[in-house]
Amino acid sequence: MNCLNPFCKLALLMVLLGGCNDQGKLSLSQRSIIYCAEGSPESFNPQLVTSGTTIDATSNQLYDRLIAYQGDDNTLVPALAKSWHVTRDGKKITFYLRKDVAFHQTDYFSPTRLLNADDVIFSFNRVLNPDHPYHIVSGGKYPFFQNIEFDHLVEQIEKINDYTIRFHLSRADNNFLANLATDFSVILSAEYAQQLSVSNTRQYIDTFPVGTGPFKLKEYRVGSLIRFYRHEQYWQQPAQMEQVVFDITSSNTGRLTKLLAKECDVSSYPIAHEKITQHSDLTLESVTALNVGYFGFNTTKAPFDNVLVRQALAYAINKKALIDTIYQKHAELAHSILPNSSWAYDDETQAQQFNLDKAKQLLAQAGYPQGFTMDLWAMPVQRPYNPNAINMAKMIQADFSKINITVNIVSYEWNTFLQRLSLGEHQSFLLGWSADHPDPDNFFNPMLSCSATKTGSNRTFWCNQHYDDIIHKALKTNNISKRKQYYAQAMTILSQQTPLIPIAHSKRYQARGNNIIGNIMAPFGGISFYQVSKLALANEHSSEQDTQKNTPTSVDNH
């Protein structure tokens, strides 16, 4: 048949293209995972941030820590440090490092040596020492470390030999080891830092990262994707997936669409849970997270510097309705900032119940019987502690209008939102907190302590010396029941002063295809793709790819 007609040629071309052997793409997809993420990371170094989105993308993928959490009871196990020793007075801690840890080899860096004490010292001195050449790089803010007053705690880090280091602390601190196991205490490469200093491009250490983790960075397209390749010389068993791609999709419906159209294997913060459970080849999973969603006041701005006003508003919020509508009942009502899964949870803590008359009474007492206008900042993205802050703001707007308060809802893009909050531009806001580790201090300190007002993570700008004293005392002792007492006192102060109104403790959800196996989420901290593998789908060609056995090795990072 003559095919000179242009239409015929076109048809032939389409047939050829369509009939092409799809084997190539299939085997590619077998070796890779595509994860639909809800936002772009602010940086590739967890030391600089507290945002969950950034931690998810970087901490467990690119880096390791000295020690890690494992198991249901969250015991501390060795990671980069194979063992450690704490002196009796708790002020000197010695770590003995592994000798077989290799750094990433990437397009921009080739390591010539394995991990040693210099790398650990560099990673922590950068945070501690203001004169360190890398301290000011990328802004000089280390919010997590500044919140726990790391620089006051650690006097010195001493290098004993190439594989041994010793931390000298100014006081005993029960939280120190827990803090070293969080997602923020990552170990960077001192050799890479040296190379960057020479070429005068120091900021690349946070934008072109090098670490020891199971994956290394291959490509980052701002706002679109992050591509990770497997680190073949990982000190544990290398990861089973050759490639992990983060497909950055900020729209909830967009993520669900991609999941349903099989363009993503795993999706974060899924909506429409019923639709997912209806699909036979999708699974919905959840973890009960250590988190709290709250309504906070900027206590430096009138009228929220008046405690009566704050309490009044606390009586005016219908929390149960919020849980039913916004969280669709997938959350517990919060009586305090601690969820009941924390050991320091106290049944006795009183929280304000929904009572409009009491609210009006307190408002009149405070001198605002005719109400006032205020703005309420709500986040545009879904977070584990709040699936839809904009709608929650709308409901609170409706609630407050019943006591003559007019609310203007303000929102910005997520990173811009956080930035402006830390500058104190708001009057009130909806936000939350996900714990980094199971110690209750992780709730009390970063949200509400005086030092946290300086780093910007205490967006209420509330500073109460009595409260600070109590939580510091709670850190100094080892006695669990005594600590519980202190935290109960702290919660009473919070309930009286109401710098924020805790609303709910929610679960974190994730949706994945049925053929993806392995743990990704943990009750606290960021996600990890280290243990993930993919089953071959029944009707696809699979030559060597059989069901991968998922054997967790001796250490895993939650």
């Binding site: 729209s251 909506i271 429409a272 309705a321 039913d324 509508t325 839809n388 709308k394 409901m395």
Partner: protein
């Protein structure tokens, strides 16, 4: 005694009446016209006629499907959204915003555009050339882009959207008025008036305007359908009406998250926009068709 008809026609319809008679003869245009009037009425009286509030929702009935569904409720004819707000009431209130505002936009930009256009048509020489180039530039920037710039400067909000869409619609009117006035100026009857010694304003008012009104009207409907789409698009992108105003584009964006569990929150505002634009276009088509018929007689 029967009156004899001396003249063939007792009444000579004026050009506008002729237009209206021709318009009435086209059934499709009349359908469009009635829809248009319906929307105008809704835009003005919607808030009074709507059964429920568009802003406060009943939180105990979120996501009710439309009443023809088995779970639906007749008192909430088109279902509710995630905060329990009645969709029908939202759409009716939204008519005021999307449709009503587009009407205001067209009227204001028409007045301003025609005034500037006719004044500029009287100029000649360098001023004229400068104006031409300036117009060319503005017309070559797409209207949505220009609207986005203006909103980026002024900030989001429905008042700023109004200003942005007005500023974007004015150039079209300037251009068409200029073109039409210049064309009329070349005609003989205007020459006759000029030879009589009439001032330019008098010529404009008595001779030219009555003859170009129709072209401006047809441009006005085009501008209105473009304005409806622009307002809705800006609302959809989050740059227009803010929470919780029930503007159609913003309602659609609101329903996006619920697309899978409550698709009617996306379908209904879209249908409303489609309905409004189609009726405006039908009216416009009818006017143009009637103009052509009048010319061909």
């Amino acid at each position: 005694m029967a009156r004899d008809k001396i003249y063939l026609e007792e009444v000579f319809p004026s050009p506008s009446m002729q237009l209206w008679i021709n318009f009435r003869k086209t059934p499709v245009a009349m359908v469009g016209f009635s829809c248009f009037i319906f929307l105008v009425v809704l835009a003005v009286f919607g808030p009074l006629l709507a059964p429920h509030s568009a802003i406060e929702g009943q939180l105990n009935i979120p996501l009710l499907p439309p009443s023809w569904h088995k779970d639906g409720d007749v008192s909430y004819l088109l279902g509710t959204d995630e905060l329990g707000r009645d969709m029908l009431s939202r759409l009716m209130y939204g008519t005021t915003f999307t449709f009503g505002l587009s009407f205001i936009v067209v009227i204001i930009s028409l007045i301003l555009g025609v005034v500037i256009g006719s004044l500029s048509a009287l100029t000649t020489g360098i001023k004229s050339s400068f104006l031409n180039h300036f117009l060319d530039v503005i017309l070559s920037i797409p209207s949505l882009l220009l609207a986005i710039i203006i909103v980026a400067i002024l900030g989001p909000g429905i008042e700023n959207t109004l200003w942005a869409v007005i500023m974007v619609s004015i150039p079209q009117f300037i251009h068409i008025t200029r073109y039409a006035v210049k064309e009329e100026f070349r005609k003989d009857y205007v020459l006759a008036s000029r030879l009589d010694g009439a001032s330019p304003f008098r010529i404009l008012h008595y001779s030219i305007f009555p003859n170009i009104v129709d072209r401006i009207m047809s441009q006005a409907t085009l501008a209105q359908s473009a304005a409806i789409l622009d307002i809705a698009t800006l609302g959809f992108l989050g740059l227009g009406a803010q929470i919780p105003l029930p503007e159609w584009g913003a309602s659609l964006a609101n329903g996006l998250d619920l697309f899978y569990i409550a698709p009617w929150t996306v379908y209904l505002p879209g249908l409303a926009i489609l309905f409004a634009v189609v009726s405006t276009n039908l009216v416009g088509e009818g006017i143009r068709h009637a103009l052509k018929m009048r010319k061909e007689r």
